[in-house]
C-alpha cells in the first residue's frame, strides 16, 4: 500500500515536471561531455599557465611569469605575426570561392563533374595536401622549383626561405579552403530567388551591379558561414605547418598553435606551463572572433522574430 502511494506520488511528480525536465535529460549526456572535454580543460589550461611544469615532476608556482616571458619572446612575436598573415590572406578564400561558385553555377553538360573536381581538394586530408605541396615546392625535384629554375635560371626553394615559407604554407591551405567556400556559395546560389533576378534584369541591372546589389545580399547567410569557417580555420592552422616545415626554417613559419605544441608536447618541449600560456593567448584571440559571431547570430535571430 505504501509502495503504491510513493509510486503514485513519484509518477505525478514526473508528470507535472515532465515538460521542462525532458529536454534537460536529453541534453545531459552532451553537457557532461562538453563540460569534461571542453570547459574543464579550458580552466585547467588557465591554471597550468601559472606554473613551471615539465609534465612529469613537481609543479612550481610562477604567477604571471610565463606571460611576462611571452612578451619578450621573439618566437612568440613571430608566431603572432604569422597568425595575422594567415588571417588576412586566408580571407582570400571567400571572394575566390564566390567567383568559382558563380562560374560553376551554370547548366552545361557534365557540370556536376566539374563541380566535384573543384570540390575535390576539400575532401582529401590536410596531411595529404601538405605533402603534395611540399613536393611541389621541393628543391631539386619539385615542379614549381623546376619551373622557376627553367624561367629565371635559379630555383627558389620556398619552404627553405624564411621570408616565403609562411606564404607557401598559406597557399597550400587556401586550396582546400577555397573549395569549401565555393561549395557554401553554390548551395547559397541555389536559393537565390529567380524572380528578383528577373526583375533586376528588367530594370537594366547587369554584371557587377547585379552581383553587388541583387545576388550578394541574398547570399549573406552563406557569406557569414564562409567568413566564420575561414577565420577559425586560419587561427587553428596547425597540420599544414607541422607537415610542411615543422615551423622552420628556424621557426620563421611558426603559428601560435604550433608554437604551443612545440613548447609543451614536442620532442624538445617540456614546458607545459609556457605552452598553456600560449594556448590561453590563442584562446583569447579566438574568443574575440567567436563572441563577435555569436553576438551577430543572436542579434539576427532576435531580429527575425
Amino acid at each position: 500500500m505504501a509502495m503504491t502511494s510513493t509510486e503514485l506520488r513519484s509518477r505525478s511528480w514526473w508528470r507535472s515536471n515532465q515538460q521542462w525536465l525532458t529536454p534537460w535529460l536529453f541534453l545531459t549526456p552532451g553537457l557532461i561531455m562538453f563540460a569534461l572535454y571542453v570547459v574543464w580543460p579550458i580552466f585547467e589550461s588557465f591554471r597550468i599557465s601559472f606554473y613551471n611544469w615539465d609534465g612529469l615532476g613537481e609543479k612550481r608556482w610562477l604567477g604571471w611569469g610565463n606571460y611576462v616571458e611571452l612578451f619578450g619572446d621573439r618566437a612568440f612575436k613571430t608566431s603572432l605575426r604569422n597568425n595575422v598573415i594567415w588571417l588576412l590572406l586566408y580571407m582570400l578564400a571567400v571572394p575566390i570561392g564566390l567567383g568559382l561558385a558563380i562560374f560553376l553555377n551554370q547548366t552545361v553538360r557534365g557540370i556536376r563533374i566539374y563541380k566535384s573536381l573543384f570540390f575535390f581538394p576539400f575532401v582529401i586530408s590536410q596531411v595529404v595536401v601538405g605533402l603534395m605541396f611540399s613536393w611541389f615546392y621541393a628543391p631539386n625535384f619539385g615542379l614549381l622549383y623546376n619551373l622557376i629554375e627553367w624561367v629565371t635560371g635559379k630555383g627558389i626553394a620556398i619552404l627553405a626561405d624564411p621570408t616565403l615559407a609562411t606564404y607557401g604554407i598559406i597557399a597550400a591551405g587556401l586550396w582546400p579552403q577555397i573549395a569549401y567556400c565555393m561549395i557554401l556559395y553554390l548551395t547559397g546560389l541555389n536559393n537565390v530567388a529567380p524572380d528578383q533576378i528577373e526583375a533586376a534584369r528588367l530594370d537594366g541591372a547587369k554584371g557587377l551591379k547585379m552581383l553587388w546589389f541583387v545576388i550578394l545580399p541574398q547570399l549573406r547567410p552563406a557569406t557569414f558561414i564562409a567568413v566564420v569557417v575561414t577565420v577559425i580555420g586560419a587561427l587553428r592552422s596547425f597540420d599544414l605547418v607541422s607537415i610542411m616545415t615543422n615551423g622552420g626554417p628556424f621557426g620563421s613559419s611558426r603559428v601560435l598553435s604550433y608554437y604551443m605544441y612545440e613548447q609543451a608536447l614536442s620532442e624538445y618541449g617540456y614546458r607545459m606551463g609556457y605552452g598553456a600560456a600560449i594556448a590561453v593567448v590563442l584562446f583569447l584571440i579566438m574568443m574575440v572572433f567567436i563572441s563577435g559571431f555569436i553576438w551577430k547570430m543572436m542579434r539576427d535571430e532576435r531580429g527575425d522574430r
Binding site: 615539465d54 609534465g55 612529469l56 615532476g57 616571458e69 621573439r74 615546392y137 621541393a138 628543391p139 631539386n140 626553394a157 620556398i158 619552404l159 627553405a160 624564411p162 616545415t245 615543422n246 622552420g248 626554417p249 628556424f250 621557426g251 612545440e262 608536447l265 614536442s266 620532442e267 624538445y268 618541449g269 617540456y270 614546458r271
Partner: protein
C-alpha cells in the same frame, strides 16, 4: 575453389587460437622501440634468440615511427608503461630519471659485471651514482664522401680543415656542393656544429658549453662559428638544406651533386641502398682545425630502460642482462652495421664499422654523445634553430649568439 577460399580464414583463425592458448603459459614482456627497417630485423632476430633461451618469456615488440616515438614516450611512460623501452644516454635521459619514470637498474649492472664490460658507457648511463639503463649500440660520426666526385675534380682527401676548405673551391667550380646536409629536422646541423666546436675548442669546452657553464657570446664559441663561416659564406654548403631531410641530402651525394656529408654511421645503409659501394663511398674523420686540441669524436649511444610503471620487472631485467652480453651485442651490431658497447664483443667486417672502431678506440680527447643528448632538451632546440639560421643567414650571428646566451641564463638557472 570457392570452398577453399571460404575455409582459409577459418583455418587461420583456428591456428591463431591454437598459438594463443600455447602462449597462455608464457609471461609477456612488452617492449616499445623505434627502429628503422634494418635494425628492426636485427632486433627481431635478437628477440628470437632470447625467447629460445627463455622459453617461458614472450617478448612483444611494439615498433614506433622514429620521430613519433620521441613525443609518444612521455605519454606511455606515465599512462601505459611497457616493461622495456628504448631511449638515449646522457642528458637526454635526465628528465625521465629525475621525474622517477625510469627504474634504477644498478643491480643488473652489479650482478652481470657490466661496469667492466660496458665500462666506456658507465659515465653516460650514471646519474646520482646509479645506472638507469643498458646500452646496446653506438656509432661514430664523421665525414662520408663520394670518391668519384673527389676523383672528378682532382681533390685529395684532406686531413686538415684548411685543405678541406681549399677542396671546396674545386667542388664549387665544378658545380658540386662541397658539404651537404638536410636540416629540416634540425639535428643534422648540430653534428656540424659539434665537430667545428670539438676541433676548435676540444671536448672539455663542448661539455662545459652543453652543461651551461660557458657563455654563448664567449670568444671560444665565436672562434667555432668563424671556422664554420668559412664554409657558409662562400656557399659551400647545400643551398636549400633547411627544406630537405637528411635522406634527401644523402640522395644528393649518391647522385654526385655533393661531395661530403657530416653524418652518423647509420647513413651508410641509406647511401648504399641508393647505389654507392665500398669503392665509391669513403669515410674520413673530421679534419683537424686546431692542432693543439686533442682529437675528440662524437659517438651517440642507444640504450634500453625499464620504466617505473613496468609490470614484469623480473623478466625485463633478464632481457637487459641478455642484451648487455658480449655475444649478443656482436651479433646484433654486425646486423645493423654499428659498434657493440661490450668490450668483449667483436666488431663486424664492414669497412665503415672497422673504421669507426679504429677511430673511437684511438680517440685521445674524449667521446661526446651529441649536442641534443649532452645539452638539456630546451637548450638543444633553441641551439639547433640557431645553427640552422646561421647556415642560412650567417650575418645574423651576433643576434643568434645573444639569443642563445639569453636562453642559457634562463634554462640553467
Amino acid at each position: 575453389m570457392m570452398q577453399l577460399t571460404k575455409s582459409a580464414p577459418l583455418a587461420l583463425a583456428i591456428a591463431l587460437l591454437a598459438t594463443t592458448s600455447a602462449m597462455a603459459q608464457q609471461r609477456t614482456l612488452n617492449y616499445y622501440a623505434d627502429y628503422d627497417p634494418i635494425p628492426l630485423a636485427a632486433m627481431e632476430a635478437l628477440i628470437a634468440d632470447f625467447e629460445a633461451e627463455n622459453p617461458d618469456i614472450d617478448v612483444v615488440l611494439q615498433n614506433f615511427d622514429h620521430e613519433g616515438y620521441k613525443t609518444a614516450i612521455r605519454n606511455f611512460l606515465t599512462t601505459d608503461a611497457p616493461d622495456v623501452a628504448n631511449w638515449y644516454a646522457g642528458n637526454r635521459m635526465a628528465p625521465f630519471v629525475n621525474s622517477g619514470q625510469f627504474m634504477d637498474v644498478s643491480d643488473v649492472w652489479a650482478d652481470n659485471g657490466l661496469a667492466d664490460s660496458l665500462g666506456s658507457a658507465l659515465a653516460s648511463m650514471t646519474i646520482d651514482g646509479k645506472q638507469w639503463g643498458v646500452p646496446y649500440t653506438y656509432y661514430q660520426w664523421g665525414i662520408y664522401y663520394n670518391k668519384d666526385v673527389y676523383a672528378q675534380v682532382g681533390a685529395e682527401v684532406p686531413t686538415t680543415y684548411d685543405e678541406f676548405v681549399a677542396n671546396c673551391a674545386l667542388f664549387k667550380a665544378a658545380g658540386i656542393d662541397c658539404l651537404t646536409t638536410g636540416t629540416s629536422a634540425l639535428w643534422p646541423g648540430a653534428g656540424i656544429f659539434d665537430y667545428m666546436n670539438l676541433r676548435t675548442n676540444g671536448y672539455d669546452f663542448h661539455m662545459a658549453l652543453t652543461n651551461g657553464e660557458v657563455e654563448w657570446t664567449s670568444q671560444g664559441v665565436r672562434d667555432t662559428f668563424a671556422q664554420w663561416a668559412r664554409l657558409v659564406e662562400p656557399g659551400y654548403i647545400t643551398a636549400n638544406h633547411a627544406a630537405i631531410d637528411w635522406q634527401d641530402a644523402a640522395a644528393l651525394m649518391v647522385q654526385g651533386k655533393a661531395a661530403n656529408y657530416v653524418m652518423g654511421n647509420f647513413a651508410v645503409g641509406v647511401l648504399k641502398e641508393g647505389g654507392m659501394t665500398d669503392d665509391t663511398l669513403g669515410f674520413m674523420p673530421f679534419p683537424t682545425i686546431n692542432p693543439d686540441v686533442p682529437r675528440a669524436e662524437e659517438a651517440p649511444t642507444d640504450t634500453m630502460h625499464i620504466p617505473s610503471g613496468a609490470t614484469n620487472v623480473e623478466d625485463a631485467k633478464t632481457f637487459l642482462a641478455f642484451v648487455a652480453r658480449a655475444d649478443v651485442q656482436t651479433k646484433l651490431n654486425a646486423a645493423i652495421g654499428q659498434l657493440p658497447m661490450n668490450a668483449g664483443s667483436s666488431v663486424g667486417d664492414d669497412p665503415f664499422i672497422q673504421a669507426g672502431f679504429e677511430l673511437l678506440s684511438t680517440t685521445p680527447g674524449g667521446i661526446a654523445q651529441f649536442f641534443d643528448r649532452d645539452a638539456p632538451a630546451e637548450m638543444a632546440k633553441i641551439g639547433m634553430e640557431g645553427f640552422q639560421e646561421f647556415m642560412v643567414i650567417p650575418g645574423n650571428l651576433d643576434d643568434i649568439l645573444a639569443r642563445l646566451e639569453q636562453a642559457r641564463q634562463r634554462i640553467y638557472q
